[in-house]
Chain length 443, copies 2
Amino acid sequence: MGKTDWKAEAKALKKELKSLTKDVEVAQPVAKKAKVVSPLAPARFPDLPQIRGVEFAAVEAGVRYQNRKDVMLVRLAPGTAMAGVFTRSTTRSACVRDCQAKITARVPRGAGAAIVVNSGNSNAFTGAKGDASVAAITEGVAQALGLPASRVFSSSTGVIGEPLPHERILAALPALQAGLQQDAIAMAAQAMMTTDTFPKGAAATIAGEGGDIHIAGIAKGSGMIAPDMATMLVYIFTDAKISAATLQKILSRNTDATFNSITVDSDTSTSDTLLLAATGQSDAAPVAGATLKAFEAALAGVMLDLAHQVIRDGEGATKFVEVNVTGAASDTDAHKVALAIANSPLVKTAIAGQDPNWGRIVAAIGKSGAAAERDRLTIKFGDILVARKGWRNPKYREEDGANYMLHPELVISVDMGLGRGKRKVWTCDLTNRYIEINADYRS
Amino acid sequence: MGKTDWKAEAKALKKELKSLTKDVEVAQPVAKKAKVVSPLAPARFPDLPQIRGVEFAAVEAGVRYQNRKDVMLVRLAPGTAMAGVFTRSTTRSACVRDCQAKITARVPRGAGAAIVVNSGNSNAFTGAKGDASVAAITEGVAQALGLPASRVFSSSTGVIGEPLPHERILAALPALQAGLQQDAIAMAAQAMMTTDTFPKGAAATIAGEGGDIHIAGIAKGSGMIAPDMATMLVYIFTDAKISAATLQKILSRNTDATFNSITVDSDTSTSDTLLLAATGQSDAAPVAGATLKAFEAALAGVMLDLAHQVIRDGEGATKFVEVNVTGAASDTDAHKVALAIANSPLVKTAIAGQDPNWGRIVAAIGKSGAAAERDRLTIKFGDILVARKGWRNPKYREEDGANYMLHPELVISVDMGLGRGKRKVWTCDLTNRYIEINADYRS
């Protein structure tokens, strides 16, 4: 030792590295240019029921993208009840802050409402100018549709820190207003896409008292939580007759197990917005009792479906992974463990490599901050018992694990053996494609 | 809308994806086979001073690797004071738990000590068998060197969940004992490497009262914290005359700003171990007063140097990044913000792509959980003022940021504008190479 010429060796190896980097780079432009839909995408956009009292329009406003629709407008009939859940980021965008203020504000009697969304620019970290853009857009829509500005909700998704050319959105308002129609929800879903590879929609219908109640939702996002061009926006519509207070209560209590239980890359967006609008125009009686329970279950189903679709469109994803934690000391602990596993780059790269590397799951449990005892842990891949009582299951065969990892949809189960806390979280794998998408220069 | 045949399109695109995945895969075997040293590696292993009372040996024991040294032994002279800091993972390995118990145990008067480390197998999550392996190894070393077993510290690094073939280590003990020599610290550093691309060493010498005091340290790790084959182990030796209590105090209080302020991938190891041994064999008087201050500063310097080398060997790293947070409401808040930025996959991939994407830094600040006010934030790349007062600096030019990002060493500064809390954290970028290393099948 000490006699090796490290400098010479390092130099030679640097040269070698440079040459092989070139080899790797050969493959990248091919991948970048291709228009690729996620291999986990559903076969097609679902048929969504029309919701009475909800109309959609979308146009090409040229906010940032060219030759595609990039602004969508939703008009909601008088008497619509609204509820919302928003990102807790301290650097959340001007439109998120505006929505938050409006969702809790007093509603003028019988007022309608509107939602206006643009893609290509998130209007986040744009200072006082950003606030002015939100005011201009929401006041413009209010005037066009004859609504109080306090009932116009706006979202922006796309690049952070660039001034939003709101005049382009204002210029598109007449065309948007003229284009409003009940059966255009798919077009609205497309207009808000950024790095999404497919539009996301989900629906449910339940039997109410005296008629059916319909729910239809759309979402965009290919990170939970990936602020630059990949923020999550969700809009759900229903014709149920229900108060804003009840609507908010059931929306809030179902968010944790759905949209707060998915993660692509652990990055939290500055724009995440979830709005739920109930027009009350169903033939059914106001929801209450058993109908309310059925409505809540159906709504939770739509929320979970949309959340799963966001994961299926996770940047570079090739695997859809459920992490199912049971037996934790508390639900909070179960959530911590599930997220630690789902966010671990080492677990996610092992899944990308189809490697049944359960040691990395053990390590993720250890760092989660939740109570854990080695000798009480059980780990499963699907139905395969991998480890229990702090040790590998003697009957576990590595090739069984390896074969299981070939599936595009995986379930990793962890039982902590401590209590009754449980939680499911959904994630995807971490692939070269994720790096390519996100290391690619913005312009 | 609704008329597109999504199924047919998805099918065609799936086919396209498959073909281009193959294109990308062409480049990977080349990269995998090459023996690559990190481009951020120092030119050579430094000349480390010999420390009186410390001897090293390393041998090929064939624990997992073939044709390379994989077990190292350190013998520490009678009277050596020991201090240690360990991972807080709840699934930490049997040898970590054993070290923790021994470091706080009562020391037999004038006892020597030993450290034995193997690479290739971490003996983590190996149940009661793992505990038995630790006992067998430490008792074997104790017997061979005539030490109490309570003074033999062991570490294991490598794959998790596989039984450690400790009999191979026991069989190597005679050769290890015979090979002990003062000038073999570099060989010891090499024997504990796993996915490391270079051995890591650092040293300092200060003038004590009546003679020099020397410090020499070695480390392994290419994730802070990357449990499978990339755990961080650090051993630092000094000839200072100093009590174990003082040693522990200064080791502990300097860990936060050094080894706890680096992150490759946010994953916490089950094996992280930092041991500091003081033999007291320097000619200098016992350290106290001004010498103690100088000693602590020199020790902190060695710790920071080793910590930086771990980042320079971060899996797939091509950029060495300092994240410097000032003006936070507290030091704790500053640490939260710095780690949120340093761990953000979106920030790290932007750096890999040499993209001055400061919007992602804003998003990371927002999700950190620390107090933040948009209009008080200042962001700099090196000396370039990028954003201030909640808005992009009007004089900032994107090409200046882009040019800055071409450097291999970067400083990202964030001033929160709220208080006096500050903290520095070091990290590297997230590249395709990281995915390749970690998605690669273990065997």
